[in-house]
């Protein structure tokens, strides 16, 4: 039973998009904590 090309594409595409958005989310959280004075 072989993984189809479309399933392979979906799996990797979703993983890549989530990984692309992660740094933006972390930087946004950092700015929010910095403004609130809750970094540490």
């Amino acid at each position: 039973m072989t993984l189809s090309v479309s399933a392979f594409t979906w799996l990797v595409s979703i993983a890549t998009v989530v990984t692309t958005l992660s740094p933006l989310l972390l930087i946004g959280l950092f700015i929010r904590d910095l403004r609130r004075g809750t970094l540490w």
Partner: protein, 478 residues
């Protein structure tokens, strides 16, 4: 085998990158840790870390060089289930989220995972746990140090021993200067670098090779890698899941963060870190699956990731991978170093050797132990034992035996302490036997199963009572 003939990065550029980032990490370590005066400041970053830094440090610590190098290795050995199985390592982070909240509530003055085991199950269980935890901590440090040496040699042709020594020295230096605050602060920068570098590589692989070509070439040359019924790979998937859960549940790396994160932060930070970490091994594994399409000859399984990037993107790819893996390496070495030295300081030095030691003595001991641990790791890395995957999976037998004792200890008042001791000892021994008799992919699985059965049966037959309030005792104060 990993000599200059595989190098894709001139040694001069590699030394330049190493130098620039080393200065940055050491400066950040000094700057963030310059006001630390107490054991709480040094070991637990003041116990009030916010959500952004908490999430980033959990992610960065779990994104190790083992993720960026062993995930491609497993993708080429076990195919699609190798990638997905590695990604399931994030289940440990997600499941630890509620535990982190409970740990903070039950032990507001706690320092280490050893404190919990001692107060919950007594001294014998504590000592068994310390053996497991210290073997694991040292094993993880060695695998990370080896990964650093392998990477530098593969990419820049710099001798394994030289590269590994430089990386360990830098990590020891900034951890020594700033303690956990330095570790967490540098982790944030390192997380961003890792993610951005990996994303650039992934999009370039997609653009230059494409899903269709990779799928067709793998189907023709290595069809087993796309087989959804690849038995060893399915065993690996469950084994890796349990290994990840065991690593996180027992390790002081994660417990010290649970104590260090601000009130209400731990649960959200671990959950978010787990969800954001999950796709990373899939992306790293996908890059490795491009090797058949690119016609790359991989001389050593450890070097899959660096070689793909170098082959596909030339100098730019080699530089990106170098920065990504150096960041991943530093973010994990510093964390494991700090957490393991905390464990040695609190549970061995203060707990066994110098019970009367005061705050100042413990603070200085913590710094000394960081240096000693770094030196021991360096000496063992010089021996270069096995491949990264083999070193990692060997440890699975140890850590998986602690999953049930930790969970039962946190939530089940009647857990039998002697059952817990038997679970950790027999789970580890039988798990190790399975590692040698069957294969690396079952060690954690067998260990966790044996341990769980023993905790359940002994507690069912001989239940013990426990008062949660006794966990609030200030541990090992001088």
């Amino acid at each position: 085998m990993n000599g200059p003939e595989t190098a894709v990065l001139p040694a001069g550029i590699a030394w330049g990158i190493l130098g620039a980032f080393s200065v940055l990490w050491v400066f950040l370590g000094w700057y963030l840790g310059r006001r630390a005066r107490t054991v709480d400041d040094y070991m637990l970053a003041g116990r009030n870390v916010g959500l952004a830094l908490a999430t980033a440090t959990a992610m960065a610590t779990w994104v190790t060089t083992n993720t960026t190098m062993a995930a491609p290795q497993f993708a080429l050995q076990l195919g699609i289930w190798g990638m997905v199985g590695y990604a399931l390592g994030s289940v440990g982070l997600i499941l630890f989220a509620p535990l982190a909240g409970r740990i903070r509530r039950l032990m507001p003055g706690g320092f280490t995972s050893g404190d919990f085991i001692r107060l919950r199950y007594g001294n014998t269980a504590w000592r068994v746990f310390l053996v497991i935890s210290l073997i694991y901590g040292l094993g993880w440090l060695i695998s990370l140090g080896m990964a650093g040496g392998v990477l530098i040699e593969a990419l820049a042709g710099i001798d394994y021993r030289v590269g590994m020594s430089v990386i360990l020295f830098i990590c020891v230096l900034y951890t020594l200067l700033g303690g956990l605050r330095a570790v967490i602060g540098t982790d944030f920068v390192q997380t961003i670098l890792i993610l951005v570098g990996l994303v650039i590589l992934a999009w370039l692989v997609i653009a230059q090779v494409g899903f269709g070509e990779i799928h067709v070439t793998v189907s023709e040359q290595r069809p087993e890698l796309l087989n959804l019924l690849f038995p060893a790979a399915i065993m690996f998937l469950f084994n890796n899941l349990l290994f990840g859960v065991g690593e996180i549940f027992h390790s002081n790396v994660w417990w010290s963060r649970a104590f260090a994160f601000g009130r209400g932060v731990g649960k959200r930070a671990y959950l978010m870190a787990g969800l954001l970490w999950m796709p990373i091994p899939i992306v790293a594994g996908f890059i490795a699956l491009a090797t058949p399409a690119l016609g790359i000859n991989v001389p050593g399984a450890d070097m899959v990731g660096p070689l793909v990037a170098g082959e596909l993107l030339g100098l730019a790819g080699a530089i990106i991978v170098f920065i990504v893996v150096f960041s991943a390496l530093a973010s994990s070495v510093d964390s494991v170093l700090a957490a393991t030295s905390d464990l040695v300081t609190r549970d061995i030095y203060k707990g066994h050797l110098r019970r009367q030691a005061g705050e100042r003595e413990v603070y200085l001991a913590a710094k000394t132990i960081v240096v000693v641990l770094g030196t021991v790791t360096w000496a063992l890395c010089m021996l270069r034992l096995g491949t990264l995957g083999a070193v990692l999976q060997f440890l699975g037998a140890f850590v998986a035996s602690t999953i049930m004792p930790i969970v039962a200890g946190l939530y089940w008042r009647r857990t039998n302490p002697w059952g817990v001791i038997a679970a950790m000892v027999l789970g580890t021994v039988i798990g190790l036997y399975s590692y040698f008799a069957i294969g690396f992919y079952v060690a954690a699985l067998v260990s966790a199963a044996i341990s769980m059965a023993l905790v359940l049966v002994t507690t069912w037959l001989w239940p013990r009572d426990f008062q949660w309030a006794s966990l609030r005792e200030e541990p090992l104060r001088g």
